[in-house]
């Protein structure tokens, strides 16, 4: 089976759009959290989120196409186009029958459900616009990306909620290594919505001021939005065309808690097994891992259980493997999260710098891991694990390796 390289990175985020803006903001510890403005949050107990305030779909889509695509889809198209441009691939010359699109999401396009309900409330069922109904199903998201790029290979979306990005990148990796296609745009997207905000608010999960993963006084997660898309291609072909190779995908592991829909397994069983599965497939051991991109939502439970998973697997080495959560800056971008995190991991492997866990004030003695507090660090990692855990007990871990020519 073929080896798989990451050769293009595209990101739409609350701290920057485009790889360079995103990466320098990330290493600089920039916060993307602000007061919610896309809907009226007055009735909620909290009012902050990681909205992408400056996203302009017309930079990436014609007005006609922008009018028929939802927000998450627009961000996905933007990130996909940015990834293609970043890869310096002569995309026009590529055989489009050999280009696939593999995405992940948590909610798809919930704004269309909101539109449906708003219309229904105002005028009854018949008042509901047909277009809203046609644009809602989540499969339209990767289909629109494929349409924009002219891709004719397999196109799918794996909506495994907050772990979806990893699942999507993993599927893309499988498509390339088996020789089914030669290029995959792989990643995730989610848009800010009142449905998602309501859900997390009612679970009491949203922090009132800031996201402080692994901090002793952490109060919760912060909903965000965005898109991360990677261009994957066979390593040999990337080398042959003189491409910049950010990282190599070594494999991924998945597992299911099969315990509770929203609460993680109390012994971090699924989290442990998905890391074990990823490392087994990648042919590495815990001794090889020198950075972990945490799921690190900032909720008391996630961070405690995630730390438990790391300590269980890594043993006494756990406190020496740096692990940071960029959700401390972006908030939780849902289905985009592990894809944006995979982009950050690829850049970490390429540049040698690992991003910090921001907003750290007091160490939680229960966690016992090195969270790269408040300042990014140059550690020159070689092999990285990117973790993601989701509602439904869906867990996925992606393993990436530094490429040396």
């Amino acid at each position: 089976m073929r080896r798989v390289a990451v050769t293009g990175i595209g990101v739409v985020s609350s701290i920057g759009t485009g790889k360079d803006a995103f990466w320098s903001a990330l290493l600089g510890g920039t916060s993307g959290i602000s007061t919610v403005s896309s809907f009226d949050s007055a009735a909620f107990p909290v009012h902050i989120g990681g909205e992408v305030k400056d996203f302009d779909p017309l930079k990436y889509l014609t007005p006609e196409r922008a009018a028929v695509t939802g927000r998450a889809t627009q961000m996905a198209i933007a990130a996909a186009k940015l990834a293609v441009a970043d890869s310096r691939l002569d995309f026009d010359a590529v055989d489009k029958n050999r280009v696939g699109v593999s995405m992940g999401t948590t909610s798809g396009e919930p704004l269309f459900v909101e539109q449906y309900n708003d219309a229904k409330k105002a005028g009854g069922e018949e008042a509901v616009p047909a277009e809203a109904m046609g644009r809602y199903p989540c499969h339209t998201m990767p289909a629109q990306v494929a349409l924009e790029l002219g891709a004719h290979g397999p196109v799918t979306i794996i909506p495994t909620a907050c772990a979806a990005g990893n699942y999507a990148i993993g599927y893309g990796y499988d498509l390339i290594r088996t020789g089914r296609v030669d290029y995959v745009l792989a990643g995730g997207a989610d848009a800010f919505s009142r449905i998602t905000y309501t859900g997390f608010s009612r679970l009491g999960a949203i922090a009132p001021e800031k996201c402080q993963p692994f901090d002793k006084n952490r109060k919760g997660m912060i909903p965000g939005e965005g898109s991360g898309m990677l261009l994957l291609e066979p390593l040999d072909a990337a080398v042959a065309r003189g491409a910049k190779i950010y990282a190599e995908v070594l494999g991924y592991g998945v597992s299911c808690d099969a315990h509770h829909m929203t609460a993680a397994h109390p012994a971090a069983d699924g989290a442990i097994r998905c890391m074990q599965n990823a490392m087994k497939e990648a042919g590495v051991t815990t001794d090889d891992i020198d950075y972990i991109s945490a799921h690190g939502t900032g909720t008391p439970t996630n961070d405690r259980l995630e730390s438990l998973a790391i300590r269980t697997l890594f043993g006494e080495r756990a406190s020496r493997v740096p692990m940071s959560s960029i959700k401390s800056m972006l908030g939780h971008t849902m289905g985009a999260a592990s894809a944006i995190e995979a982009a950050a991991c690829s850049l970490a492997l390429d540049t040698g710098w690992i991003p910090a866990t921001m907003n750290h004030e007091e160490t939680d003695p229960d966690c016992g891991v090195d969270i790269v507090a408040n300042k990014s660090r140059k550690t020159n990692p070689k092999i990285i694990l990117n973790n993601a855990y989701a509602f439904g007990g869906n867990n996925a871990c992606l393993c990436l390796k530094r490429y040396v020519a």
Partner: protein, 398 residues
């Protein structure tokens, strides 16, 4: 050498009834279950109607499951039992689920938001939030049946069911699981029913006739269809005889505007050719076809052209069945239902009738059963957004 992937259990619940016996009886009787739904104000559909999940799911932990999730869990339980899989008390990390769906549970999502805007966000139940993610059915099924291994939800429009089965087959080939339940599920709720009608997908006449000259549209159908897959080696080791083998898969996106078939059918033809080639077969090795056709004027035309492009003159005399004449268009479940129908056909050596059909336009469609011309069956699942998937299956032989 990649391991061979085989089917060792089947489960299905649709408007034609619960279980594969009910499904086969309905199929071979040549009837349709597409009719105005009592449950949804007379909307035309294949409605499972009221059903009692207790015989398969017991009484515990069922109340929180929404309609589609119950359908999925029932079909999964049937397939697990049929495969003679021995349950592990604490759940098996090597047993998983890969399910195709188009919506997941849109009624749950819409209801959640409806409460929020009509009563206020503080009146929304936090427990209902869990059912608003599209992977909720798969996640709930995993809790109910202790499926601790792979758990994925795959959405590729009307092609979802076949994409999911191919995903599962690959995971088994890669050694990421030992047993995988896979297929598709879809519920039909007021939202999907309304959407079908508003998007012009529904048959105004109420007569759903795939490929017929008089066809004027489809009708939504609900249900779940699940296969238990494992490698031939695993099945042999535990003394279970495989029924069918999963061969090659092909998927092609036709990059056509959303909600629109490419009537020329190049993408559909390419998907068919890819599935056959990936099976290490040629078109003449195909002995029967399970069509995706659902009564859509454009979609059925596209599939007819694609079949002619691939099979040429040999299409006359190649038996074809369009099970959506019975089951309706069950979206994420459609391709999986088609796969299970292919299995039924392989077991009997003949394709079931297509309700109300007759041969036309060079297609060997019939309202009677038709003997297979060979042991490899092609299953199509072509989506109205341009995604095309095909799968080849055959009877198991060592």
């Amino acid at each position: 050498m990649m391991p061979r992937v085989v089917v060792t259990g089947e489960g299905m619940i649709t408007a034609a009834g619960a279980g594969i016996d009910a499904a086969q009886e309905a199929l071979w009787s040549g009837k349709t279950v597409i009719a105005p739904s009592e449950r949804l104000n007379g909307a035309l559909m294949a409605d499972v109607g009221e059903f009692d999940p207790t015989p398969w799911l017991g009484n515990k932990g069922v109340r929180v499951l929404d309609r589609g999730t119950r359908l999925l869990c029932i079909a999964a339980q049937m397939a697990l039992t049929a495969s003679k899989y021995t349950a592990v008390a604490e759940g098996d990390p090597d047993l998983g689920l890969v399910v195709g769906t188009l919506f997941g549970g849109v009624h749950s999502i819409a209801s959640f938001d409806w409460t929020g805007i009509t009563e206020g966000p503080n009146w929304v139940s936090p427990m209902e939030f869990a059912n608003t993610v599209i992977n909720a059915p798969a996640g709930q099924a995993a809790i109910k049946q202790k499926l601790r291994g792979v758990n994925s939800t795959v959405c590729s429009g009307l092609a979802s069911g076949l994409y999911a089965m191919s995903y599962a087959a690959d995971f088994l080939r890669f050694g990421r699981a030992r047993y995988l339940l896979t297929g598709g599920m879809e519920e039909v709720c007021e939202e999907t029913s309304l959407g079908f009608r508003k998007l012009g997908l529904s048959s105004p006449s109420g007569a759903v006739h795939p490929f017929a000259e008089t066809r004027d549209g489809a009708a939504p159908g609900e249900g779940a269809a699940i296969w238990m897959l494992e490698t031939a080696e695993t099945a042999e080791a535990r003394g279970v005889e495989p029924m069918f083998e999963i061969l090659g898969f092909g998927a092609v996106y036709d990059a056509h505007p959303t909600i629109g078939y490419n009537p020329r059918g190049e993408g559909a033809a390419a998907a068919i050719r890819m599935a056959i080639a990936n099976s290490e077969l040629k078109p003449e090795d195909i002995g029967g076809i399970i069509a995706s056709a659902n009564g859509s004027p454009a979609g059925d035309e596209m599939e007819a052209r694609a079949l002619k492009a691939v099979f040429g003159d040999s299409l006359t005399g190649l038996p074809l069945c369009a099970p959506k004449a019975l089951f309706g268009e069950s979206m994420g479940a459609g391709g999986a239902i088609g796969a299970l129908v292919a299995g039924f056909a392989l077991r009997r050596g003949e394709l079931p009738p297509t309700a109300g059909a007759s041969a036309a336009n060079g297609l060997q469609l019939s309202s009677s059963a038709q003997a297979l011309r060979g042991e490899n069956i092609l299953i199509n699942a072509f989506s109205c957004d341009g995604n095309n998937a095909s799968l080849v299956v055959r009877s198991w032989k060592k």
